[in-house]
């Protein structure tokens, strides 16, 4: 099956955004837990 350039670019942006969002959100949550429990 052939894919157009637009589909490939959208997949690159979509997959990267989801994966990076999960990593940053995970780090944010863990640091939030530390902040909440430290006070």
């Amino acid at each position: 099956m052939e894919y157009g350039n637009t589909a490939v670019v959208l997949m690159v942006v979509g997959v990267s955004a989801v994966v990076l969002a999960l990593a940053f959100f995970g780090t944010y949550c863990l640091n939030k837990i530390v902040d909440r429990n430290a006070h």
Partner: protein, 464 residues
């Protein structure tokens, strides 16, 4: 899968890895117990030495009976079996002695508060001698029935070292998880913080070792392709389960690491998270047992029974399907991009933390930069999965690339070294304006060099 082995050879394959690989892990805990002066942990280790000593009996009996059966097989070298038997019996004898010494010390100190240091050191010395003898015996044992170790190295499709490392390495996450679970359950029951942390560290190490185990397994697949008597369908069934194992190891390892990180900042564990780690570890161990069983069926026709239904279609299963899917540009390019993002996260985090340890931006306490660490660990997780998918796309080419083996070795070293940042007591107390201890600086240098090596090794794959 038949849960209870139905032949002496099967029993021997299962049992014989515990005295060797198990001893490595018990010794690791034992040394930790000495370093932290934790009496409860020392006692648990002594109990485990006794159990390992007892295991010497079924290991010997199953080995002796296996030898009788395998002697009738003309394809198996009698000299190799005799050498394995000689070294094996010697190793098991010293193991029994180690277990007996541990038992005497446990009995002697049952009412005393402290264990005798002389006896503890004697157990340590005997265990180290056992380990050395076991390594020789194990190496000779693995040579007996593994085609890929006896084939002409020049004629193999992938470097023989990969297959050799896989045969040894695959036992570490499996047996390591058994011992980590024993310690972990004991730690939860005794509410012993040092033991909880040591078990969590072991879960993380086993998860990290899952990466080289999986990669070397892919190389062994190529080494065994086309060998008479070896079924590609049976290999694929093993690969599929290994994929599930990798997920299980990653989930358990990350959860365990998060608890280590949280403990560092809060000084206490979350009970919910601790039991979540336990649940994941038990599930992962079950999956690993099935993976190991399927792996054993590749090279060991002697453990098969009449009721075993072996797969026959080499194109069935998830692994061939993923191989076909990831070769489409729409799947490959996004995951390759994610792989580069993963490296960026890992290197940025490693750089920031390592530079603080090495003496840069001293105005910040170490605890402040330690907060960044989850980002790097998530980067590792991202790259394990994206890297595994990329490997699926063209495993033959990657595994034969000169710089791929150093890259995998650097991943393992770099990831294990990062654990130090969440475990060291001295480093944790480094306040703003203070210098980190020299040992921490060495670890920081190893972390930086390892991850730089990973990036360079990966980038050179298409060219060298």
């Amino acid at each position: 899968m038949h849960l209870i082995p139905q032949s002496w050879s099967h029993w021997h394959i299962l049992l014989s890895v515990f005295p060797l690989v198990g001893l490595v892990f018990v010794l690791g805990f034992y040394v930790t117990a000495f370093a932290s002066s934790n009496e409860a942990m020392k006692r648990i280790c002594l109990v485990l030495f006794v159990i390992l000593g007892l295991l010497a009996i079924p290991t010997y009996l199953s080995g002796d009976h296996s030898m009788e059966l395998l002697s009738q097989n003309p394809k198996i070298s009698q000299d190799l079996m005799s050498s394995h038997f000689g070294w094996g019996v010697t190793a098991l004898a010293v193991l029994v002695l180690t277990g007996l010494t541990a038992l005497i010390e446990l009995w002697r100190s049952r009412r005393a508060e402290h264990l005798s240091n002389d006896a503890l050191h004697l157990v340590l010395g005997l265990a180290l001698i056992t380990l050395a003898l076991m390594v020789i015996s194990g190496e000779l044992g693995w040579d007996i029935n593994h085609h890929e170790l006896r084939m002409d190295a020049a004629a193999q499709k992938t470097p023989q070292a990969w297959s050799h490392v896989h045969i040894i390495l695959n036992h570490f996450p499996t047996v390591g998880f058994v011992f980590a679970l024993i310690f972990y359950i004991a730690a939860l029951a005794m509410d012993n913080t040092v033991m909880k942390r040591a078990s969590l560290v072991l879960f993380v190490i086993c998860a990290i070792l899952g990466v080289p185990t999986y990669v070397t397994g892919a190389a062994s697949m190529w080494a065994l392709s086309g060998v008479p008597g070896i079924s590609k369908a049976v290999i694929n069934a093993h690969r599929d389960m290994a994929l599930v194992t990798l997920f299980g190891l990653a989930f358990t390892g990350v959860l365990a690491w998060i608890e280590l990180w949280r403990f560092r900042h809060l000084g206490s564990f979350s009970n919910l998270s601790l039991y979540l780690v336990l649940a994941f570890a038990i599930i992962t161990l079950g999956v690993m047992a099935e993976t190991g069983h399927r792996g054993g069926q590749i090279n060991h026709p002697e453990i098969r029974v009449a009721t075993d239904v072996l797969p026959t279609d080499p194109k069935a299963g998830w692994s061939p399907a993923i191989e076909s899917l990831i070769n489409h540009v729409i799947w490959f390019v996004p995951w390759q991009t994610v792989h580069f993002f993963g490296f960026s996260l890992i290197f940025a985090t490693a750089l920031a933390i390592s530079l603080r340890v090495l003496g840069f931006w001293k105005s910040m306490p170490f605890s402040a930069v330690h907060r960044l660490l989850p980002l790097g660990v998530f980067g590792v997780v991202i790259n394990v999965f994206s890297g595994m998918l990329i490997l699926f796309a063209d495993s033959f080419r990657y595994l034969n690339a000169t710089t791929f083996a150093p890259k995998v070795a650097f991943i393992t070293i770099g990831a294990i070294a990062v654990l130090y940042f969440s475990c060291s007591e001295r480093l944790w107390t480094v306040k703003a304006g203070e210098d980190a201890p020299m040992s921490a600086k060495w670890v920081a240098a190893v972390v930086l060099l390892s991850w730089a090596g990973v990036i360079m090794g990966g980038r050179l794959i298409p060219y060298v």
